[in-house]
């Protein structure tokens, strides 16, 4: 028998989901995370779940894993010391960056000057130059390369990046510098060449992306090797795969070489899990609302496919690597409400109470009102969380919210309601950005909340958006683990093309795409996937010649047997009109080509839950008063574990489970589907 294991490492819990590939039977596991070394919880959770299922670790054929190791390395500044080799005249490429100062007029006065990820003192220049056609203007000087590399060696750099001008057109100079670096530093030195990591135009973005990759390589490499060794010791010989930022899987070996693709691995797990749940529940178009302690992530899924973006943003870092188009706003359960004296406005976030002291109601010394405190005051959160393991301090929550009320000159409940309205509005704003502003009608989408507090806000946000039903999925951590376990292997090749329509032909495009397809396939084949199981997808970034922003267009290879370029141009016109309401007579430009190779999609059936009678009263824990629509109303608290398929309940109500709470508003009805998801609709 063979099993797949999905593991998601969250801030608080590490969740596991084990699938029997033969019959779809599943086991869930949950264990506290171990932030000091995340692999400890991964290993102990794996042992536990194998015991529960009565299998040995050797029965696991595929181990799938979403990790925030790379993300945390960036956020906590724990990346490696990177040595950077650039073209003569470009030593300060990271220092000058794009010359951009964020904020409005005069914002430079208060803008903290950033420190480049590769320090200037660890950046050296080498002679030699390629032109914008990829032709050599001046040759390399090997003696000069050795001198400069030895300087870096004496400074103790831990990883190397080579990024030379116009290397996206011709990488031979970078290759040679890399070879000499291996001679001088040895095989174990992690070396990233920019034309391999990101063969695209724009020297700063390519340098930054490659430097970020270098900075993460030692950290990610160590983590992956340790984990692999531990799992091997347990007897697991199956394949270890990691979840990429774009929602695909990559082998552990590939992750070691290109960890820049892991930066958004965490959020990607939620989105791929949401896709899995939605598909089983019969929904193809969904908006996701992942509410954590300090921030909320939102994403749009159309026809079962998430939108991708060409950049990955973590903190102030923006690198060119594909990731799911997940937008983040600084609004979460821990966001602090405050009233600036100068303007007397009510603001919620972006400051957060974090894990310590946390919201006032956590009783860890926090005194500032947070979103969680307002939820508690309004009766949207029960006074006990984590199945009774955590008791909330309602008096502290009231005291904190009262301070906001006093500053605003309103009463307690109005202030609490105001805090929730504003945070819902911020989430609404984020969802509008990915739907209305991209030309999508949110009424054609269902809304799925997850994360600790997603389902506390999803009903209210759905009312603002007109997105129904609200889907309350299986518990949030498991959702991510399910995403890890059910997504497909993925390899991507990308190339700058930069040709106008009149400068290229169908056969030119066909030949280039075919060559890229072979490369992408080879990556998956090297990871042990059989060629027959690989499917290919192609994308071309198109713009009107001279525009600075491309639109990625999906294409088929066969189109370019004949008529493909024309077809692409008219498809782009249509998309441009949808996005921006007008077309231009300017010629089209094919900017970048991409090929994605995908492993086989896993069709895992999900076992239905026990059928109920339609009456949810068996799950009703207690009566409960809730402040809704301007006054107190009688509601109830339900225990999710006791709900059965087909059960129906009416708002106002809250539904609790181990690590999340769902709020059902008055005028809405919640119904449990065959698989255990709760669907909320207007009554």
């Amino acid at each position: 028998m063979s099993y797949r294991l999905g593991v998601d490492v969250g801030g608080t819990f590490t969740d596991l989901l084990l699938f029997n590939e033969a019959n779809g039977q599943t086991w869930r596991g949950k264990t506290p995370s171990t932030p000091e070394d995340p692999s400890i919880a991964v290993v102990s959770g794996t042992k536990q779940i194998c015991e529960d299922a009565g299998i040995g670790a050797g029965d696991i054929s595929v181990f799938l894993h979403g990790t925030t190791v790379a993300t945390n390395a960036v956020l906590e500044g724990k990346g490696a010391v990177v040595g950077l080799i650039v073209t003569e005249g470009y030593r300060q490429v990271m220092q000058v960056a794009r010359s951009f100062v964020p904020g409005g007029l005069a914002a430079w006065i208060i803008w903290p000057k950033p420190t480049p990820m590769a320090l200037l003192e660890n950046t050296v220049e080498v002679f030699g130059r390629m032109d914008a056609q990829g032709q050599e203007v001046r040759p390399l000087d090997e003696a000069n390369i050795r001198t400069e590399l030895l300087k870096l060696k004496s400074r103790g750099v831990q990883a190397l990046t080579v990024c030379l001008m116009n290397s996206y057109l011709n990488g031979s100079h970078e290759k040679r510098v890399g070879e000499i670096a291996i001679e001088l530093f040895g095989q174990d030195m992690p070396i990233s060449l920019s034309h391999e990591i990101l063969p695209e135009m724009y020297e700063y973005e390519r340098t930054l992306t490659t430097v970020a990759n270098s900075a993460m390589r030692p950290v990610v490499g160590k983590y992956v090797r340790n984990l692999k060794a531990e799992l091997t010791r347990m007897g697991m010989n199956g394949q270890l795969s990691l979840l990429r930022s774009d929602g695909g899987l990559m082998s552990a070996q590939a992750a070691e070489l290109k960890p820049v693709n892991l930066l958004m691995s965490g959020p990607a797990g939620g989105v791929t899990g949401a896709i899995f749940v939605a598909k089983n529940a019969g929904f193809k178009n969904i908006l996701t609302l992942d509410v954590g302690g300090t921030s909320t992530d939102v994403a749009l899924i159309e026809h079962g496919e998430p939108r991708l973006q060409r950049t990955t943003e973590v903190a102030h870092l923006s690198v060119r690597a594909s990731s799911l188009d997940v937008r983040t706003v600084g609004a979460g359960g821990g966001s602090i409400a405050h009233v600036p004296e100068l303007t007397k406005a009510l603001r919620v976030g972006p400051q957060s109470a974090g894990a310590m002291p946390g919201p006032a109601c956590y009783g860890r010394g926090g005194t500032e009102a947070t979103v969680s405190d307002a939820n508690l005051v309004l009766g949207y959160l029960p006074e006990e969380l984590l199945g009774g393991r955590m008791k909330l301090d309602k008096a502290a929550a009231i005291a904190a919210v009262q301070k906001v009320a006093d500053a605003m000159g309103v009463d307690l409940m109005e202030a609490a309601r105001g805090i929730i309205d504003i945070v819902n509005e911020n989430m609404f704003g984020a969802l509008r950005m990915i739907s209305v502003q991209q030309g999508y009608d949110p009424r054609e989408f269902a809304l799925m909340g997850f994360g600790g507090a997603g389902s506390l806000h999803s009903n209210a946000v759905a009312k603002l958006m007109g997105s129904w039903p609200v889907i309350v999925p299986i518990s949030p951590g498991v959702l991510c683990a399910a995403g890890d376990a059910t997504t497909r292997s993925r390899a991507e090749t990308a190339r700058s093309f930069s040709k106008r329509k009149s400068q290229t032909t169908d056969s030119d495009v066909h030949a280039t795409l075919s060559e890229m397809a072979d490369q992408a396939k080879a990556t998956l084949i090297a990871d042990g996937i059989s060629e027959a199981d690989i499917s290919l997808k192609f994308e071309i970034d198109v713009r009107y010649y001279g525009q600075g922003f491309e639109v990625p267009m999906a294409v088929e290879l066969d189109d370019f047997v004949t008529g493909g370029v024309e077809k692409l141009a008219s498809a782009f016109d249509e998309e441009h009109r949808r996005l921006f309401t007008f077309n231009m007579e300017t010629e089209h430009e094919l900017v970048n080509l991409r090929c994605v190779a995908l492993g086989k999609a896993l069709e895992l059936p999900v076992a239905p839950i026990e059928q109920g009678t339609g009456d949810a009263s068996a799950a009703r824990l207690t009566d409960h008063k809730m402040w809704v629509e301007g006054g107190w109303q009688d509601g109830a608290i339900y225990d999710r574990a006791k709900l059965r398929a087909g059960d129906v309940l009416s708002g106002p109500a809250i539904i609790t489970e181990m690590d999340s709470t769902a709020l059902v508003l008055p005028g809405c009805v919640a119904k449990v589907d065959a698989l255990g998801n709760i669907l909320i609709n207007p009554a």
């Binding site: 300060q92 220092q95 000058v96 010359s99 904020g103 007029l105 430079w108």
Partner: protein, 628 residues
């Protein structure tokens, strides 16, 4: 004659109370609408000036034309006052003549689009945006002739005209405007992109009206304006004294040999009002460096500078205008008389930010910033590709951000919001040039406890014959330091011919012929330093020597003795610092460098260029006739 606004269902707005939550929601929706305007423009415009560098600015105003979100203040007041016609739903106004809108836009390159936003038969708001077009015709490619002597040499001059009339595009107007440009395709695309951005604002405003009701939205706009007024009233009372303070700074020259031009501003408070008086500013120039400064725009700059330190998150608006009185003498550099040329106003526009910072900082020297990158240098390069196709580059340069109370100024960055540089690989791919060097100009940032940012040293290698124009400043009067910090280095340019001959170039030049193989060294100025350089951590100075930001010789300005590798000699450093402390003059709040007279004496020897000649007020014949 003011504009007549036509409404199909006119009725006054009812001021209704807006609860704080709705106010916050509407405030955010306005902010988002503006962000969306920018996004739409940058994604669809064609010219690198707009889409890569972000030289375009959106605004949303209430029905009376007061800005509720934006950054340059309302563009509407002058237009509304002067437009002799009717405005109705579906109209879109286009203009580019600064004299037709009281300088809301300040040169013909900026095209201003104004869109009334109607809901349910009445005017609920205005959307507007202006963008700098690569070319609007005139005597030089790029339409910024330094040597123009009247606005008639600066390309087409559009008074407010209807680009759309009741929702219908006036093709003839678009054709006429587009036809004036050397880059008609870019002009047309950029203009359409600006209109599309305004339409986004209109859509969002209509949605807000549908959700909250017209009266609520209108009341919220009024509340937001009032809130700003209250905040500013408080700040003015706190930060501005009744005792006048003044500051003066200079534009180095006008490209025709005159200079430096003094900009002087005196500030004091009378009751709750603050007065900003530019009396003492030098006369207008015969060239195009004049800056027709709109009083409201200056009020906005003043307000933003005031509030940036106190509450940077506020959504800034026009609400406080009646608290500020701006006085600008007629015929001066900042209020030139028609038909004075205006195209190269960028230097004076930038310089008033330095003046403003210095004025406001005098009462709180800790928050005072040094002189900075207060201009936006340009390079134009045009000619023909080998296949006969015309190319025309308009590129904005960057430089050193001043030393600040917060810390060092960034190297080679922009003081202008939203501006970014054009990637050199892009330049090389689309224009016949190779960028051989793109780095900070070593030692150009003024020494200080907090170092001024370094300017940029950029070397262009031209691959085709063509013409270039240069627009820059601060080559003659150095950018000053503060609180004991030293001035930054001045800018310079030179053209190196293929045979090695080096020709020094002025900072404002039109139509310089370049040949294939020539190299242009374009070096911008550095930001001034903040605080006593002898107090700066020697190890940090050493690190910057190793990083190539400061030279071994430059380190001595900090009293630091080190080697090429940045290894500091502690004993020698202590010695040098003691010696310097003992011998120097007392530190000054403002360090201007040698002074104008001394600069004139040494100009030719230090810069290779003749010293500029002092500008004088001259009675023009037309003025004399008018006076009689």
């Amino acid at each position: 004659m003011p504009a007549t606004i036509l409404e199909t269902k006119p009725r006054p707005f009812r001021r209704t109370p807006v609860d704080p939550v709705s106010l916050d929601i509407i405030e955010n929706a306005l902010r988002n609408a503006r962000v969306e305007m920018d996004a739409t423009l940058f994604r669809t415009a064609l010219s690198p000036g707009i889409r890569e560098q972000g030289d375009a600015f959106p605004m949303i105003a209430d029905p009376q034309g007061r800005m509720v979100v934006g950054q340059f203040g309302s563009f509407l007041q002058g237009f509304l006052k002067g437009y002799d016609g009717e405005i109705e739903e579906g109209d879109v106004i286009l203009l580019n003549d600064p004299y037709s809108c009281e300088g809301a836009i300040s040169h013909t390159s900026d095209q201003l689009v104004i869109m009334p936003i109607h809901h349910d038969g009445r005017l609920v708001a205005w959307g507007a945006m202006f963008g700098h077009m690569t070319d609007v015709g005139g005597k030089v490619p790029g339409s910024l002739p330094t040597d123009a002597s009247s606005i008639f040499e600066e390309g087409m001059r559009l008074p407010p005209v209807k680009l759309y009339r009741k929702g219908v595009l006036q093709e003839d107007i678009l054709k006429i405007a587009t036809h004036q440009s050397r880059m008609p395709e870019w002009y047309r695309a950029d203009l359409i992109a600006i209109v599309a951005a305004c339409r986004v604002a209109a859509r969002r405003l209509v949605e807000m009206c549908e959700r909250f009701g017209d009266d609520q939205v209108n009341s919220a706009m009024n509340d937001l304006l009032d809130r700003n007024r209250r905040a500013m009233q408080f700040l003015i009372g706190q930060a501005i004294g009744e005792e006048p303070v003044f500051f003066e700074d200079y534009i180095c020259d006008d490209g025709k040999g005159a200079g430096p031009f003094k900009i002087k501003c005196t500030m004091w408070r009378e009751g709750e009002r603050v007065i900003l008086d530019f009396d003492g500013t030098d006369p207008q120039s015969d060239s195009s460096i004049n800056f027709y400064l709109n009083e409201n725009m200056f009020k906005m700059f003043f307000g933003i500078y005031m509030i940036m330190v106190f509450d940077p998150q506020i959504l800034f608006n026009d609400g406080f205008y009646d608290l500020v009185d701006v006085r600008i003498p007629e015929g001066s550099l900042l209020k030139p008389k028609f038909p004075a040329a205006l195209s190269c106003r960028t230097h004076a526009l930038g310089r008033i930010f330095d003046v403003l910072g210095a004025l406001l900082g005098q009462k709180q020297p800790d928050f005072l910033c040094a002189a900075g990158f207060s201009s936006s240098p340009h390079l134009m390069y045009s000619g023909f590709h080998p296949d006969g196709e015309w190319f025309q580059l308009f590129q904005i340069g960057f430089g050193g951000i001043p030393g600040r109370f917060l810390g060092d100024g960034a190297d080679g960055h922009s003081l202008w919001p939203g501006f970014t540089n054009v990637p050199n690989e892009f330049l090389e791919r689309y224009f016949p040039m190779r960028i051989e060097k793109y780095e900070c100009a070593v030692d150009s940032g003024g020494a200080g406890l907090n170092r001024g940012g370094n300017g940029i040293n950029m070397v262009y290698h031209f691959l085709e014959n063509g013409t270039i124009s240069i627009h820059d400043d601060r080559w003659f009067v150095p950018p000053w330091g503060v609180n004991g910090g030293q001035p930054g280095a001045r800018s310079w340019k030179k053209l190196v011919k293929a045979d090695g001959q080096a020709i020094p170039l002025g900072s404002k030049m039109d139509r310089v012929t370049v040949e294939k193989g020539d190299e242009l060294h374009y070096v911008t100025w550095g930001g001034g330093g903040w605080g006593d350089a002898l107090e700066r951590d020697p190890a940090l100075v050493g690190l910057e020597v190793r990083g190539g930001l400061v030279s071994v010789a430059g380190a001595r300005d900090y009293g630091v003795v080190c080697d090429e590798d940045g290894v500091v000699d502690d004993v020698a450093t202590d010695d040098l610092r003691n010696k310097l402390r003992a011998s120097r003059d007392p530190l000054k709040v403002f360090e201007f460098g040698p002074g104008i007279e001394k600069l004139r004496e040494t100009c030719e020897a230090e810069t290779g260029l003749p010293a500029p000649i002092q500008p004088v007020w001259r009675g023009r014949i037309s003025d004399k006739i008018a006076a009689q």
